[in-house]
Amino acid sequence: MTDERGVPRREFLKSAVAIGGAAAFSACLGREEVDVPTGPDDLSSYPQRQHAWNEVLPRDDHGNVIAPSHRLLLYLNYRRDGQPNEDDRDQVETALRGIEHAYERSGIGLLLTVSYSPAYFDRFDESLSEGVDLPDPEALAPFEDPEFDTPDAVVHLASNTAQVVLGAEEALKGNKSTLNGVDQPDVALTDVFSLTDRRTGFIGDGLPAKNAGDAESVPADKVPDDAPLFMGFKSGFKKNQASEDRVTIQSGPFADGTTQHISKLQLNLNQWYNQDDRWQREAKMFCPYHAENDVIEGAGDNLGNSSKIDDCKPTDETAREMGVVGHSQKSARARDDEDSPLILRRDFDSTDGGTASLHFLALQRRITDFVDTREAMNGTDVTEQSAVGQRNNNGILQYIRSERRGNFLVPPRSLRALPPAQPARDAQEVTHESS
């Protein structure tokens, strides 16, 4: 099926989120043959954990959660100087509830989080509640020099349905009086916040290959047709992801919240696909053992529910003897005492700005957990003691450049609208009767 301009329907759907706006949304409505159920009138059963997505997302045959395919990050600045007032809090909550009433909370429907930066909490006289580890963003490798994102807030919208992401965005901007047949409130999120940046993306089988034409420097004929990510391999295996429990803040007023790190990584796919061969891609993404033993078929669906890193030799040994180490192999070293990974990846690819990139969004109990994981991925310890270079043969560091980094707190649902730095203990019991 093609539209009047000759753009195949599926082609249109994936770039629509990148384009955004009312026209893209209307166009989507006509093209996506899907009825998205509306959300409930009473939202009181929604979990305190904004990041509790896994229970409503589909899983593959191996039990891996299938990440929602269409994504949007809205970077927002609070319009008011100083501390937020209750009116603004009510407006934010009302606007968010508007889109939650319009779309059910599911993979086909809408998943969302609202998060706040250290810069936002600087407006309060009190420091952020103890027990929340939320430092300012910083460079996380000796060889990177990223810009730092310091908006007040970031809203993450996710769905397997492109029109849901676009419709939710339009409603939050006050451009929809009804959404999915549901009346929208008179207030807009953008009455309270100004939009400073809009980042879009996708993840899922086949989407990178289909989006390759939107970005310069993507060898379109090289990204495998079934790969969920530009680099050609599956990620987010169940056993390589922290559980939602593991990343949840356990105590204090922000209990049931989590922290979120978002980096923008630019990808160099020319070297990856046109210069390296399949052996090198497998060795550098996973480990040399996997490449030597043909462990990975295609994008790696055959690996099941883990990247099978236990089969790889220790990273330092591989570095010394093979001169190359894998990304998964290095990263898997960052684990807690119970052998759990520290971070929950909810990253996705992007063609924002016409370049192939990865919005690496990760949730963890403390930002320190992310820093530790990235440190393991840097492999600085390995490079000092082996033939592995700072980037060369060092996992996928040769092919990614950290352009931007930002840290955020995803508060519990009851505090998602302009939270104070030191919420009262009973804050979580506050309800919004108006909904």
Partner: protein, 353 residues
Amino acid sequence: MNRRDVLRAVGGTSLVGLAGCAGLFETRSARAPPLPENRPDAVYYPTHYEGMKMPGMKEQGGYRCALTYSYAHRFWLMKPNGITKVEIQPEDSIHLMPVVWETQTGIIPPDINPQLTITQSRDSIDQFAPWPMLSQPMGFHFGDNAQLQSDGTYTVEVSIGGPSTRRTGSLAENQGNASFTFEFEFSESTLNEISYTDIPDDREGTKGAVDLMDMEMLPNSQVPTPNALPGDVRGSGMSGDAKFVVTILEDASRFGGDEEQRYLAVSPRTPYNRTMLPMMSLSGTLHRDGTSVFDGILQATIDPELRYHYGTTVADVQTGDELTITVDSPPQTARHEGYETAFVDMPDVKVTL
């Protein structure tokens, strides 16, 4: 589909019908002639060698950076059990080489991997981290083939981060980042002014190497001759056509040891040109009267006097000690023609001190 894909889709094996962008193609086969037959497992004379141009040089933060380029090259990437040949792609227009060196010593640090960003009128053209490479005329350098779309002015930003290889002496002080921006006037006619020297058929593929280029204003990536190395040079050995020179320094305090300890340094280099051989995993054992007195890794280190080398502190070294150097991984640098068959299969080196 971007320009590269258009070219690939249209190109295939046929060059017919590409008259509009024929310039790149006409020269391509000429610049990548068939490899010599029966290449030795050693350094050999390549089919040809090329000059280079330097559009500019900048200085910042204790480093200098020269932007240099030549014709697009074929090269090889290393694997644990072989090499991968990287062919020139149809859209590759030049081989871009940012040469960064430490101002005081003239040392080109192989661990500081530059990042390149190429823009034209603020439009992104390309961004990549060039590979660490070994070439006979250029020595050790970072380089990769780049895709400039046509004649014009390009902005090339070269950014470097902190080091990841141990540094000693005055070099240990500079841990900073730096960035160098060049305005680069590119034209195919200027590119074609770069020298291209064919090596006679009876010479190509035979053991030997073309000389390092005489690069005015640029440092080279050589290590000292044995006579010029500090300490007491106690011997040398060959492996995979590389020469390993062993020297013992009296005082190991600069290298993490103390004044009473010795520093055992191994300085590998290419034959003929004395180019450093970085990015190896080396280990060593020291035997005295049949007993092991040292067994451990030789750590890659950059020192103002020893320059790039591998070393360890030891309690003592006595005449007659047997040193065995094991190459756990050969140099993981990419290779230009003439170096791809050497420094790959590297057996132990035994030196009696």
